[in-house]
């Protein structure tokens, strides 16, 4: 668990660090996938099914507000519908405008939910939407999910009847409109899905807001069970089209996993260290239950300082020359070496003085050439060092 928490912290850190690039890339991917799904599912205007156009629009969406994705997806849908039939395009525009004017105007942040629900409906996995939205959204998300299902139902009705619509004569404009409107109003599955998803979203939201331990886990499991049971009951009474219990079960399992991941990132609490306190101020009496979040401290880099007692100033080159034995390790007597060094140093110093004074030149010939010269070491005080830069050069 600690390792997972560390990974979570690292992911959060990485996201906060690279948020400026992750968000546009995520928006680009969302727009690109959505537009491709629309082109693949509808595709009545072949000119729009072009990688270049899709990429340019997706790039625009990456740097525009989130609502732009829904706007461009709507435009793509309407253009495809227009290529199929003008009446259907007008009807599509009315549906999209109704969603915008009556709901999205009050909740502009929910546009991504509407679009996401439509795309997931197209992939036949809409059953995870109410669980996820109940966890991360509010009760208004139930309406957003409903709008998404409505938009998908309309597009689905059009694609199902596309062959009939395209073969009708140009004069049969009213018949085309009637065909789509009748199919949409007779679509009980749409109404059932809207109802089931709305109830599930609200149930998950209410449970996860309850002041009980493990509220999120309970909400996820309850939501998944509730969703499956409601869909099964609906299928029993109304025989839903393209309803597969295996698919619902698998998608519910996926919803469970996604819910757990969301819980891990947003609501991981340490119930073992819950604190309950009571106190009051002038207006209220407080019964506070404080549950600490599961946190792990981020690993930090430590700088190790190497002991500076081995520091040897550069100006004492003669001393460094005589100091290798102690650096090589092994047994040696420091006191003896110290005395030896002083003897040797005194001897050489006296030789230098003799040379400067003009006598004793013969002794200089043996300087530095004696192979049997014992290694010597001098104990130095680090405080005497004047230039710390020499330390780095040595090592």
């Amino acid at each position: 668990m600690t390792k997972l928490l560390e990974i979570r912290e690292q992911i959060k850190f990485l996201y906060s660090k690279a948020e400026w690039i992750i968000t546009p890339v995520a928006k680009l991917l969302a727009a690109f996938i959505s537009l491709n799904v629309i082109n693949t599912r509808m595709g009545y205007m072949p000119r729009l099914d072009n990688f270049g156009i899709v990429m340019i629009v997706a790039l625009m969406c990456a740097f525009l507000p989130t609502g732009a994705i829904l706007l461009f997806c709507s435009i793509f849908c309407l253009l495809h519908l227009y290529a199929l039939s003008l009446e259907v395009a007008v009807l599509g525009m009315v549906v999209f405008l109704l969603i915008y004017l009556l709901y999205l105007r009050f909740a502009p942040g929910e546009s991504l939910v509407v679009m996401g629900t439509t795309i997931l409906c197209a992939w036949k996995i809409p059953y995870l939407v109410p669980i996820v939205m109940g966890l991360v959204g509010g009760p208004a998300s139930a309406i957003s999910v409903g709008c998404g299902v409505l938009a998908y139902a309309f597009l689905d009705v059009v694609t199902d009847n596309a062959a009939n619509i395209s073969t009708m004569a140009d004069e049969e404009t009213i018949v085309r409109l009637k065909l789509v409107v009748d199919a949409l109003l007779a679509n009980k599955q749409m109404l059932i899905l809207i109802l089931v998803f709305a109830i599930t979203t609200i149930v998950v939201y209410v449970i996860r807001r309850l002041p009980v331990d493990h509220a999120w886990t309970i909400a996820i499991i309850a939501g998944v069970i509730f969703n499956m049971v409601l869909l099964l009951v609906a299928d029993l009474f109304y025989e839903l089209v393209e309803f597969s219990f295996v698919r619902v079960f698998l998608v519910s399992l996926l919803a469970l996993v996604i819910g757990m991941v969301l819980e891990f990132f947003r609501f991981q609490l340490d119930y073992g260290h819950t604190e309950r306190v009571q106190f009051e101020d002038d207006e209220y009496y407080y019964y506070v239950k404080a549950v600490p979040k599961m946190m792990v401290p981020q690993s930090s880099r430590t700088i190790k300082r190497i002991n500076r007692t081995n520091y040897v100033p550069e100006e004492e080159e003669d001393v460094r020359e005589y100091a290798p034995r102690s650096r090589r390790g092994g047994d040696y007597d420091e006191t003896e070496e110290y005395e030896e060094f002083h003897e040797e140093f005194s001897r050489r110093r006296s030789q230098e003085i003799d040379r400067e004074l003009g006598y004793g030149f013969d002794t200089m010939s043996s300087f530095g050439e004696d192979p049997d010269r014992p290694p010597v070491r001098r104990r130095r005080n680090p405080a005497d060092a004047e230039d710390p830069g020499d330390f780095e050069e040595l090592f």
């Binding site: 009446e87 105007r105 409109l177």
Partner: protein, 128 residues
Amino acid sequence: MLNEERVALMTRMASYEAGEGKRNMQIGRFFRSDYVSIQVLKAFISATISFCMVFAIYVYYNLETFMENLYQIDLLAFAKDVLTKYAWFAGTYLVIAYLVCTFKYARARKNLHLYFNNLKKLGHMYQK
């Protein structure tokens, strides 16, 4: 160890910040009557456009019936019926919009007031 007074403050502030903190700042710049009037006016325009669109689709859907029975239809009664439905639809939507906007404004102002007071108190606590 928990600082009880600070926890009380932070509990209130967290409940506010978790909701509509940023949007409340924008709402708080208006007087109540101004904000609600603007929102209700927008809602009225939205409701009217929506009703007109649905009505247009309805008329187009039943165009053949209308054309066949044009002279038999009591246009005045039909217009009255349509206007009644429009009034019900727009009225219901405006009432909902009014309630939602009034509620949003009252909550935004109250929370903003408390939020700034609490922010000051919290600042003093951390300075101690």
